[in-house]
């Protein structure tokens, strides 16, 4: 175990919370949202205390400071994901907005543009997608007359790529896939997919909500076109998300939200739009959120993304072994640790996930239950939901033990009552 988890835990105030029956909290819901280190919390409050002012607008000192912080955060993120230029990084409110921005903008592209869609074209997703990387494409398909296709999921919750040649074909304009499933933890093997997408000339969009926080992601090395992720899952603030895109494509796309700071000139009946990234950032942005996100990137880099990844790999190996020993537990996701993250969805025979979550909560263990915004995947597996425990840099092997003990007690509680 390479990370000093006890030390890291102290950086996160919430992790010392007491919960029900005065038990110390065990937070295993980082897949939904991560906790925040003091430095991130302070970066936000320091912004308000010392530098708060509208960026790009004021002609005064604190407006300059605010602009430096905001643009500094953009530069940190660009560097963090290996972007070629800071102009390729767009601040949104969430990964959900990032993907919707793209879907709306693509839907409004000039008819003869290389990125526009028409009937006969196809958009490719997968059964593993979070609703945020599914419904925007359903809607885009409906608006443009394009068809929606998808990769099925395998029994162990990975992408089934056997039909890749049929699913991604010459009609395919967009391939939008999750980088790591938020339900099964499966990491998508991008290289063959990207090769195929490139061969047919499709744009590739990667939902990196569950990858960027957990392992090194380099957009240039990957060779993708767009990447969407959320600040709040990577120890950053809520209300800030990111869209990275290849500059040439961003330049080709029309704006999404219209308003202040994204124009070059405006008359009563018309407007022309600023170069990227400004074109996509209408209005006063989440400046404190950007300040906090910059601090989050600093924090993750101070630990090291490789170290975080290795730590999670150890947790995964340990947890997989322990969980698969539990009788009556069915793991929804790969049983081996290769190409998967520390996300563990499971069902317990005879006990509904909601009841499992309740029993764990009673023991101070915070997990998530339900469909995890991946309803089609639940239907595929013939279930209504799972219990999901997700681990992050501040979780230890002992946390796995406590979870396993909690599951054990949950089973005993309900089976002793005849379930």
């Amino acid at each position: 175990m390479s990370l000093d988890v006890a030390k890291i835990k102290r950086d996160f105030p919430l992790l010392s919370r007491k919960v029900r029956h005065d038990l110390p909290l065990l937070y295993l819901d980082s897949g939904a949202t991560s906790q925040k280190p003091i430095k991130v919390i302070e970066a936000e409050s320091d912004f308000y205390r010392f530098h708060n002012s509208a960026v790009h607008r004021g002609a005064h000192l604190i407006a300059e400071e605010a602009t430096d912080i905001y643009e500094g955060a953009r530069a940190k993120i660009a560097h963090f994901i290996g972007a070629e230029s800071v102009d390729e990084v767009i601040f949104t409110k969430s990964a959900t907005e990032s993907i919707n921005l793209l879907a709306y903008s693509l839907g409004q592209a000039r008819p003869n543009s290389p990125v526009s869609l028409k009937p006969g074209d196809s958009i490719v997703v997968s059964e593993l997608e979070h609703h945020a990387n599914l419904i925007p494409w359903q809607e885009l398909a409906k608006r443009t007359g394009a068809s929606l296709r998808w990769f099925p999921a395998t029994e162990d919750g990975r992408l089934d790529l056997r039909e890749i040649e049929q699913i991604i074909d010459s009609s395919t304009k967009i391939v939008a896939l999750t980088h790591q499933s938020n339900v099964t933890g499966a990491i998508t093997p991008l290289s063959s997919l990207l090769d195929r997408a490139k061969a047919v000339g499709a744009i590739t969009v990667i939902d990196a909500c569950q990858s960027v926080p957990h392992f090194p992601v380099d957009v240039q090395k990957l060779g993708i076109d767009f990447l969407a992720f959320s600040g709040h899952k990577m120890v950053g603030p809520t209300g800030i998300g990111l869209l990275w895109g290849r500059k040439s494509l961003l330049e080709e796309l029309p704006p999404f939200l219209f308003g202040g700071s994204m124009v070059t000139s405006v008359s009563m009946s018309d407007a022309t739009f600023a170069p990227v990234p400004r074109k996509f950032e209408a209005g006063v942005p989440n400046m404190a959120g950007a300040a906090g996100l910059g601090a989050a990137v600093d924090y993750l880099q101070s630990i090291g993304m490789d170290a975080i990844h290795n730590h999670e790999l150890s947790l995964t190996e340990y947890a997989l072994a322990k969980l698969q020993e539990i009788e009556g537990l069915t793991l929804i996701g790969p049983g081996e640790s290769s190409d998967r993250g520390a996300v563990f969805s499971f069902t317990l025979d005879g006990i509904h996930p909601h009841d499992v979550g309740q029993a764990l909560d009673d023991r101070g263990i915070a997990v998530r239950t339900g469909h995890h915004c991946a309803w089609p995947l639940m239907k595929k597996f013939g279930i209504t939901g799972t219990t999901r425990a997700t681990f992050y840099l501040y979780n230890s092997l002992e946390d796995v033990d406590r979870l396993v003990e909690g599951i054990d007690e949950t089973q005993r509680f309900f089976t002793s009552r005849g379930l």
């Binding site: 996930p353 909601h354 309740q358 339900g370 379930l419």
Partner: protein
């Protein structure tokens, strides 16, 4: 502080294990289908009325112990009641659920349903407890026995 034992009372788990009126009657005055979108739990409910009277409530569905047991209790509780009486019961139960633990419910009115009072301390579970009840209310509106 409520604990797990007081939340999952024997009565609740009994109804969960042996639900009443589960399995849809082949005929119905009104059929409804309700979903709890945050967890995916579902209930189908068939209501048979005669004039203003509830003749039977049968149901089927998937869900947690709380949602299944509370639908079971409900289906038994309202059988034979008049529509206004049933509505009074549903509203009384909704008030208990909204009470954050301060309203234990009137056993004369709610019968076994008072066993669910502890659920009101767990906001995320209130929708589970109410799933069948909201389905019945909807069915009664559709059957035009309430406004």
């Amino acid at each position: 502080m409520v604990n797990l034992e007081s939340l999952y009372q024997e009565l609740i788990l009994d109804h969960y294990k042996n639900p009443l009126n589960k399995g849809l009657a082949s005929d119905s005055s009104v059929s409804v289908h309700h979903v709890n979108p945050s967890c995916g739990d579902e209930v189908d409910l068939n209501l048979i009325v005669a004039g203003q009277q509830i003749v039977s409530v049968t149901w089927d569905g998937v869900g947690c112990s709380i949602s299944q047991a509370s639908t079971s209790v409900l289906s038994d509780l309202v059988r034979g009641k008049s529509a206004p009486e049933a509505l009074r019961i549903i509203e009384a139960f909704s008030e208990v659920m909204a009470s954050k633990g301060s309203n234990g419910g009137d056993p004369d009115l709610l019968g076994d349903a008072v066993a669910f009072a502890g659920v009101s301390r767990y906001p995320a579970r209130i929708k589970c407890a109410l799933l069948g009840w909201m389905a019945l209310k909807d069915a009664m509106v559709q059957a035009k026995v309430i406004g």
